[in-house]
């Protein structure tokens, strides 16, 4: 394993791990405040019980998200000092704002968890809303910084390669920022809805009729359904930005080798022979890529053969990760379609055991989709760490032996991941022995 590959693997692992906690950490508070709001409105104690169970889930997610996020802010410098030396001052604004959002989130969460009996109910609910909003803003700021790596604007380098002029606001509000932040915000809520759906479907199968889980599933279906409708639209904004600013990434996402001056097809599946520069076994839908990316069936799209091999990203990883993301959307859309049909036919909550089993299967697909989407966008930007400005290989630390810290973090995150999953599951299991002791 080369040092560059070890550094990239450690970064991918750390981001991939943090991402799960960060996205659920955005979505869970939304569920928590909706449930508490419904309790305040209806006086139905089941909603209160759900809000409390979900708030404990939020506390665990927030804590692990906070420490893994702290680790990431260090790792940027430990692994990519060359990148941070240039990017640090330019994307400092969103990172500073993220720090504020994180602090507000910690404060609101503290009041929410420890203030049940000590603040007025409506104030308590507002504190929960504060947790959600500040968590959401936190994610938005971080994604703004990542968007800058795709479309770097708002700076000028001096003759020695150091940062000479910075326009922080322009850098933060770069051309990719809007689409990426919107897409990720909806993704976080969508993924959480499916995780909630999966866990409570599992538990409802074990305790049929339990109102605690039925309410949870109802809320997950409503929130998840709305997000399922919205997500393809937000994805469209991202796609347009990629098409206009990162043509090589667009071609890699599609496994498109040949240029299509009169409109390009959209590929489903397929495997590229990266040596020969061609894709096999793909199902091609004519003109669809030009329609989706440029809203014009005959818009020209450049293929990967137009660029030098050392400026191409790994095509198969990019393309297949992108396909997996689309597949996850397919699974979730199918689930919501089924839910609507069943709900109309039964005139009530769809709780057929077979449907619940399907929901258990669909539960992880939101998270999977997020991991796949980030893999596609990050690998698709290679060999650049800052598109067109700095190569990843020029950003890596000169320290030798990077496989060792990678192995250390891999072990750490593996253990934490397993423990955390088991722990979270128990918080929502209303019949487990420890549940009765909660606050």
């Amino acid at each position: 394993m080369t040092d560059l590959l070890a550094a990239r693997s450690q970064m991918a692992l750390s981001l991939g791990f943090h991402m799960i906690f960060a996205t659920l950490g955005i979505g869970m508070p939304l569920f928590m405040v909706i449930a508490e709001g419904l309790w305040l409105r209806t006086g139905d104690a089941t909603w209160l019980k759900l809000a409390k169970a979900w708030s404990k889930g939020t506390a665990i997610l927030f804590a692990v998200g906070a420490v893994s996020g702290t680790a990431l802010s260090f790792e940027l410098g430990l692994l990519w000092p060359g990148f941070m030396e240039v990017a640090g001052p330019i994307i400092g604004l969103p990172f500073s704002l993220e720090g504020f959002a994180f602090f507000f989130e910690a404060i609101f969460l503290g009041v929410y968890l420890y203030g049940w009996e000590h603040v007025k109910p409506v104030v308590h609910w507002l504190a929960g809303l504060g947790v959600f909003v500040s968590g959401l803003m936190s994610g938005i700021f971080v994604v703004c910084a990542n968007a800058w790596m795709n479309t770097p604007t708002g700076f000028e380098l001096g003759p020695d390669g150091s940062v000479a002029i910075v326009r922080p606001l322009e850098a933060m509000l770069n051309p990719s920022a809007f689409g990426q932040t919107l897409h990720m915000s909806v993704a976080a809520i969508l993924a959480t809805a499916f995780a909630v759906l999966g866990v409570h479907a599992w538990l409802l199968r074990r305790t049929p009729g339990e109102p605690f889980h039925r309410r949870a599933i109802l809320l997950a279906l409503v929130v998840g359904g709305l997000s399922t409708v919205a997500q393809p639209l937000t994805g469209h904004f991202v796609g347009e930005a990629v098409a206009h600013n990162q043509p090589v990434k667009l071609a890699a996402l599609e496994g498109l080798w040949e240029s299509h001056p009169e409109g390009a097809p959209f590929s489903i599946g397929g495997w590229s022979d990266e040596e020969a520069g061609e894709q096999h076994y793909a199902l091609e839908i004519p003109y669809l890529l030009s329609v989706l990316a440029f809203s014009d069936p005959f818009h020209p799209v450049e293929g990967l053969r137009e660029v030098e091999p050392d400026l191409r990203p790994p095509v198969n990883v990019t393309h297949l990760a992108y396909q997996l993301m689309l597949a996850s959307m397919g699974v979730m859309a199918l689930t919501m379609g089924l839910a609507v049909v069943l709900a109309v036919r039964r005139r009530g909550l769809p709780d057929h055991p077979a449907f619940l089993a399907w929901c258990m299967f669909a539960g992880p697909w939101g998270i999977l989709g997020i991991e796949a989407g980030w893999t596609a966008t990050e690998v698709g930007r290679q060999p650049w760490v800052i598109q067109g400005v700095m190569r990843t290989s020029d950003a890596v630390t000169p320290m030798p032996g990077l496989a060792a810290p990678f192995a250390l973090f891999a072990l750490l995150y593996l253990v934490l991941g397993v423990v955390c999953a088991a722990l979270l599951f128990r918080q929502f299991d209303v019949h487990s022995p420890e549940h009765a002791h909660g606050p």
């Binding site: 906070a66 500073s96 203030g115 009996e117 606050p439």
Partner: protein, 345 residues
């Protein structure tokens, strides 16, 4: 005076706040590990309650230090991150393990074996992490990190695997333990527990005293420039004298059972110590290698960052005060909402 001095002051303040809040949390873990005698379980309970509500918020100061470093002194961030990769990586492993273990312990089932396992991880990481933090700080202050044309001539182990950084590491640990013991002695209601923590604070004071002299002794060869600054000139001598006087007063307050006075003196002592280091290292951000001025980002970034922090500090301060008030009410009423206590009972 350039804007980089103002940013350095803010960075410094954030570091001090991290030591005073997060440092005490680490120190709590140390006393969790060393809990002994008939009241060991009660000691652990008090520590968990003290850390429980706000440990996540305390973390923000470390994040602020890092963000300020990479936004405003990007060259220093890159160079420190590269040269001190190993101690910082080990510190991070400690941070992640410690935070996770604490929350797992709080929310996990009550099976004693599982509880005990997370307690050990939490306490062990609480000891390990401050040592790594101190080692990194010691290496930065020692002047041992050297580069020539982008090549790290001092290597990736020699600058921190040396007597001076190691001494600073253990000194940091002792300081954190002292802070925690003093806070806890003042916080607890129970007289026997108060006595436990008062004695621990005295023990930690002795450790701080010994390790301060050890650190000073090895600084002669380990950090010559820092040593020269620490003993050179009237300002430096005045600071040493004040630190010494404050230490004597702190021990006096502990011996005479004035825990409230000790609680005021201990943070002052820590601030003075950290300020003494800052004064001795100025204007270097990485001793003998990189000055604040040479490491700084363009001026508009520095001014903008301080501006954002100043504007944001107002609502943040209000929210923070509100949170502290809610916690105080929760504690006064003794309502069963502090999960940390419950989970440990």
């Amino acid at each position: 005076m350039g804007p980089e001095i103002a940013v350095a002051a803010v960075l410094f303040a954030a570091l001090v706040l991290y030591v005073l809040t997060g440092g005490a949390d680490f120190g709590g873990g140390v006393w969790d590990l060393l809990a002994t005698g008939p009241r060991a379980a009660a000691q652990r309970r008090v520590i968990a309650r003290a850390i429980g509500p706000i440990w996540e918020a305390n973390h923000v100061w470390l994040i602020l230090v890092i963000v300020l470093l990479f936004v405003c002194f990007p060259v220093a961030f890159a160079r420190i991150g590269t040269a001190l990769h190993w101690p910082l990586t080990l510190m991070l492993v400690g941070v992640v393990l410690r935070g996770s273990a604490f929350v797992f312990r709080t929310y996990d089932s009550r099976k004693d074996a599982v509880q005990a396992r997370w307690s050990r991880v939490f306490a062990g990481a609480s000891v390990f992490t401050p040592v790594m933090l101190g080692i990194s700080v010691g290496a930065v202050a020692s002047g041992a990190v050297r580069t020539t044309d982008g090549v790290y001539t001092s290597g990736f182990f020699a600058p921190w695997l040396a007597p001076f950084p190691l001494a600073v590491g253990f000194f940091t640990l002792a300081l954190f333990a002292l802070l925690a013991a003093v806070y806890l002695a003042d916080d607890v209601e129970d007289d026997a527990l108060r006595e436990d923590f008062r004695l621990r604070a005295l023990g930690a004071s002795a450790a701080v005293f010994v390790l301060a002299w050890v650190t000073f002794a090895v600084s002669g060869t380990g950090a010559p420039h820092l040593r020269a600054s620490l003993v050179g000139g009237p300002i430096a001598w005045t600071m040493q004298a004040v630190v010494g006087a404050c230490g004597v007063a702190l021990v006096g307050a502990l011996i005479t059972r004035r825990t409230r006075v000790a609680r005021i003196l201990a943070p002052i002592q820590v601030v003075l110590l950290v300020a003494g280091w800052g004064h001795a290292q100025f204007p270097w951000i990485l001793m003998d290698e990189l000055t604040l001025h040479d490491a700084a980002a363009p001026d508009n970034v520095l001014v903008g960052t301080v501006g954002v922090l100043a504007v944001g500090a107002v609502p943040l301060g209000l929210a923070y005060a509100w949170m502290i008030r809610v916690f105080r009410q929760a504690r006064l009423s003794g309502a069963p909402s502090a999960e940390a206590i419950e989970a440990n009972e």
